[in-house]
């Protein structure tokens, strides 16, 4: 079995079977990740380039560790250290990297569509690790993996994604992925952060947090970008937190065993209260751990895993 694509650009183009393949593969990878000696030779001799045009700790580190545990050679290129600051175009950077014959290029870029742009110009597989507000598929896959692991299924579950939906690639990827897996998706946030026609993607829209989280199985909180205050999207952190912050008190409106997720990094006390983030139903650290397994699975599947062994 393999993915039917050269690249992983978004959840929008994956089928439910392909998503299931990634999740199932990630299960075996998670077993590897829990061994004392984690290295397996699956991608020996393969080269992975992490091309990051935006600061990122967890995603970059996660891809790097995932690649290394599979014995691939992993190279990190980040904006500050690269020729990007010299004004090289994405096309030329792509062609230059191509000449070094990598097997996989993992790209994060502030412009939507940047991963697709690169994918069309490279023979290597391209993994979109976040392109503007468009997609962040590996995040959605690790979220699905984490929910499935905890609940034993995905179909029929209800989730509320809360926060700045307009600017969130995590929200977009999860909306596509969760719906493909038979989940019911709600989005909630200030009206100023809900993009137009979002309901046409098949989600239910809320501007009231209590109503949004009632009866759901999973609450996924999104990170609030503080700069959005200057853009006039919300008046103050205090008010945002009062209306849309998840606190122990607010959780009374939800199911008692509701699962709490957050793609990180969290703003403690803004979108999520510390006792909720650290509480018994929080899966935030499981998400990080599962991110490794899911990214190992993606690298394995895209780098022609199955042949190498």
């Amino acid at each position: 079995m393999s993915l039917g694509h050269k690249d992983l650009l978004g959840m929008q183009e994956l089928t439910s079977d392909e998503i299931r393949l990634v999740l199932d593969t990630a299960e075996s990878m998670k077993e590897v990740a829990r061994r004392d000696i984690k290295k397996v030779p699956a991608l020996r001799g393969k080269t992975i380039i992490n091309l990051f045009y935006e600061p990122s700790t967890r995603t970059r580190t996660s891809f790097e560790i995932a690649g290394k545990w599979l014995s691939a050679d992993v190279i990190n290129v980040s904006t500050s250290a690269s020729s990007v600051t010299k004004g090289e175009s994405l096309k030329d950077t792509g062609l230059t990297l191509q000449a070094m014959h990598p097997n996989i290029v993992v790209i994060r870029h502030p412009a939507a569509g940047a991963a697709a742009f690169l994918a069309g110009r490279l023979a290597a597989s391209v993994i979109n690790a976040g392109d503007g507000a468009h997609e962040h598929p590996s995040q959605a896959l690790l979220d699905l993996f984490t929910i499935r692991e905890k609940m034993g299924r995905l179909e029929g579950l209800k989730v509320a994604i809360v926060g700045d939906i307009t600017h969130s690639r995590v929200a977009r990827s999860n909306i596509h992925g969760m719906q493909k897996m038979g989940m019911e998706v709600r989005v909630a946030g200030p009206r100023t952060m809900l993009p137009c026609f979002i309901e046409r993607l098949g989600v239910e829209v809320f501007t009231n947090l209590d109503r949004a989280i009632a009866e759901v199985d999973v609450i996924m909180m999104l990170r609030l970008q503080i700069e959005r205050q200057q853009a006039g999207l919300f008046p103050s952190l205090r008010e945002y937190s009062r209306l849309f912050g998840l606190t122990a008190e607010r959780m009374k409106a939800a199911k008692p065993d509701v699962l709490i997720m957050h793609p990180g990094p969290i703003n403690r006390g803004v979108e999520i209260a510390p006792d909720v983030a650290d509480g018994p139903y929080s899966l935030i650290l499981n998400q990080v751990e599962n991110g490794l397994a899911v990214r190992m699975a993606l690298l394995y599947l895209l780098a022609g895993g199955g042949q190498a062994g």
Binding site: S89, P110, A112, G113, A114, F117, C196, F197, R200
Partner: protein, 446 residues
């Protein structure tokens, strides 16, 4: 030079003529418009373009050339009142020579070039330069549009009186709106002294923010920042009120939204002196064209929704929209071949406008052929006070001859323009220019 154009379907919206007629052109003017000039009917059964040796009756007229227009349409030379020739300053994208050749190839005999060059056309010396170059190197007539404000900065009025004297036919800060309502009011009052239309690129920059595409379903799906329809319509509404206040002539460039069409329709009914234009790409395409992050579908105003497109068609049909203009905006390949957010706005249109109009507006019956031609000839001439856009004895022999039935495939590699940024590459279109005559001379011929 004497040219006889025989047997064509002559369509002149200004006079309402639509008939099989011969035209006799002498010394740059149309001197005779009659059935069968020279006394003999063309005997050849062949149709299409081409010259042939003058027959005896024709030689009696001392004709230098006979153009057989059988099966073809002969209309006043097309006028594109909104192009960017990029010279001076960005000759890598386009020059007056290449842009006017693209115009001639597309059937245009006159273009109005917007002032956002480097330097900006906000002084007589720049206007003089453009007109001088156009005279020496231009394939078609060039009418410069001067800036409303110095440097297009939206702060102080440019020397509009001198720009008018130098030959500017309108003023505009195109590419940028005049955001300051007070300054726009004064510009309109001032321009009215010269009966110059004020052309506004209607956009509220605060509402547009850092948007790159229409704010709609596609922007939401792709995660691209949106420009709401209200950004254009709010500015249209403001300027209509200012036109009412000042009595000046307002022309709204590249209308793209249903709301703008509605506002302009209402204003026209009230008697406000407003006119407007639409681009071929806004009537042919919607926001769906940006899927796949296609930078050749990135322009400002952005491609809107299907409902907006339908409103534009209705506006053309009922006369709310006066003019079809291309907003021909050349950009280099490398500028367009990059991240969607970073690619410049704009597409070229001179070499596809006629065919897109015929294919997307005339063929489906949105406009009759004479109505479509009016929006490309007599209407822009009227708005700009040009003694062009008509076929009459004594008028300049600016003529376009086109085959309304010829199918062709858009191949940007064949363009006369220096740039290739068209959203219509690979499209199968119907209707092709056969010959373009400017001042009685053949500027381009298939």
């Amino acid at each position: 030079m004497k040219i006889l154009i025989r047997g064509g379907r002559v369509i002149d919206p200004a006079s309402g003529v639509d008939d099989l007629l011969d035209l006799f052109v002498e010394d740059g003017k149309i001197v005779r418009i009659e059935k069968s000039i020279g006394g003999t009917e063309p005997t050849e059964a062949g149709k299409g373009k081409g010259s042939r040796t003058a027959k005896p009756a024709e030689s009696a007229l001392n004709v230098d050339r006979v153009m057989d227009a059988t099966g073809l349409v002969v209309c006043p030379g097309l006028i594109d009142m909104h192009v960017h020739l990029r010279q001076p300053g960005r000759e890598d994208k386009e020059t007056i020579a290449s842009g006017t050749m693209a115009a001639a190839r597309g059937g245009f005999t006159a273009v109005c070039c917007m002032p956002n060059t480097e330097p900006v056309n906000d002084t007589r010396s720049v206007t003089d330069f453009i007109l001088d170059r156009a005279k020496r190197e231009g394939a078609v007539q060039v009418y410069p549009v001067g800036a409303i404000t110095k440097g297009l900065k939206g702060e102080e009025l440019a020397e509009i009186g001198e720009l008018f004297e130098a030959g500017c036919v309108a003023i505009s800060d195109d590419g940028r709106p005049v955001m300051n309502a007070e300054l726009m009011r004064r510009a309109m009052e001032y321009a009215a002294m010269f009966d110059l239309p004020v052309i506004q690129h209607s956009e509220d920059l605060h509402l547009s923010g850092r948007g790159v595409v229409h704010e709609g379903l596609v922007s939401t799906e792709l995660g691209l920042r949106g420009i709401p329809s209200a950004s254009e319509a709010a500015m249209v509404a403001r300027d209509l009120l200012l036109a009412e206040l000042t009595g000046a002539r307002l022309h709204i460039a590249h209308v793209s939204t249903a709301e703008s069409v509605r506002l302009i329709r209402e204003a026209k009914a009230r008697g406000v002196r407003v006119s407007c234009e639409v681009t071929p790409h806004h009537v042919a395409l919607t926001e769906d064209a940006i899927r796949g992050f296609n930078t050749h579908a990135k322009m400002n105003p952005p491609l809107r929704s299907e409902a907006d497109r339908q409103a534009l068609l209705e506006g053309l049909r009922d006369g709310t929209i006066d003019v079809i203009a291309t907003d021909h905006a050349p950009h280099t390949v490398q500028e367009k071949e990059r991240e969607f957010d970073l690619a410049p706005y704009g597409v070229i249109g001179l070499e596809t406008a006629l065919a897109v109009t015929l294919t997307m507006l005339v063929a489906p019956g949105v406009l009759s052929l004479p109505q479509a031609i009016a929006k490309l000839t007599s209407e822009p001439a009227r708005i700009l006070n040009l003694s062009k856009g008509q076929i009459a004895e004594g008028a300049d022999a600016d003529l376009t001859i086109f085959d309304p039935n010829r199918d062709w495939t858009v191949d940007p590699a064949t363009f006369a323009s220096k740039s290739r940024n068209t959203p219509f590459a690979g499209w199968r279109l119907t209707g092709a220019t056969v010959a373009t005559l400017v001042g009685g001379k053949v500027a381009w011929e298939a």
